[in-house]
Symmetry: C2
Amino acid sequence: MSEPELYWEDFEPGTTREFGEKHVTREEIVDFAKDYDPQPFHLDEKAGEASILGGLCASGWHSCAMLMRMLCDGFLLKSAAMGSPGLDEVRWRKPVYVDDVLHVRQTCLETRVSKSRPEMGLVKFQSEVMNQKDEVCMISTGWMMIGLRNPASRESA
Amino acid sequence: MSEPELYWEDFEPGTTREFGEKHVTREEIVDFAKDYDPQPFHLDEKAGEASILGGLCASGWHSCAMLMRMLCDGFLLKSAAMGSPGLDEVRWRKPVYVDDVLHVRQTCLETRVSKSRPEMGLVKFQSEVMNQKDEVCMISTGWMMIGLRNPASRESA
């Protein structure tokens, strides 16, 4: 593995970035649903149209997974990311339909250093998944664990 | 589609059920990670061992997806499920490793009828993903929208 470019110190509360571009295909919606969420409105057009979702649409968990891939490609894979303890909230606001093109709007809300692991920081992000009409399809708020560039300098601060 | 067996009226706050059995394979962990969360500790044993996760382990989003499949097979596919507005919390407590065998412990926390759609109810569940040692790997708390068996009788009540 190469050295990370981004460490905990590089994330500043109040900053917002937009990135990512994910074209959602019918094949991927149905493949994900067959494996993990085989409810009729994620598998079949007619069932989707008959539902309150209004058409064949991606599982909410598929939207989460597509968000994660955009986060990985957008910055996580070049960061000192160490995983996540969890999410404080997920809201599925609008269905993600076949041929939607998604991107991410991410705001850094809060940062702190771990008490138990001084080499590790925590960053709270709000991540919105937006479609090609700039509608917010999904909002996720949660924490990521990210290594510090220079733990020692903070200890002596 | 056949008629649902389970409607909103069948979910009672305070009740807990255990169900599901999911054997987690290395192939599935790596396949999911390649598509949606290609961080090194989800792709490679050595990177997993070098991380705070202690070994090659499933993406937290993969655990969410496996939970959803167990919920579908456990009761959702035979219910009048209409989707979900979101989650109030997700906690990833312990890594899910290769050859873990997962099941679900689910508690119904709260129910109410939708104000805007009297034919629809909401049920708040806490869903714990447990491994073969009965350790809680993940907890998710969120709402599901489920159709009422008999909306009219409630309106006249």
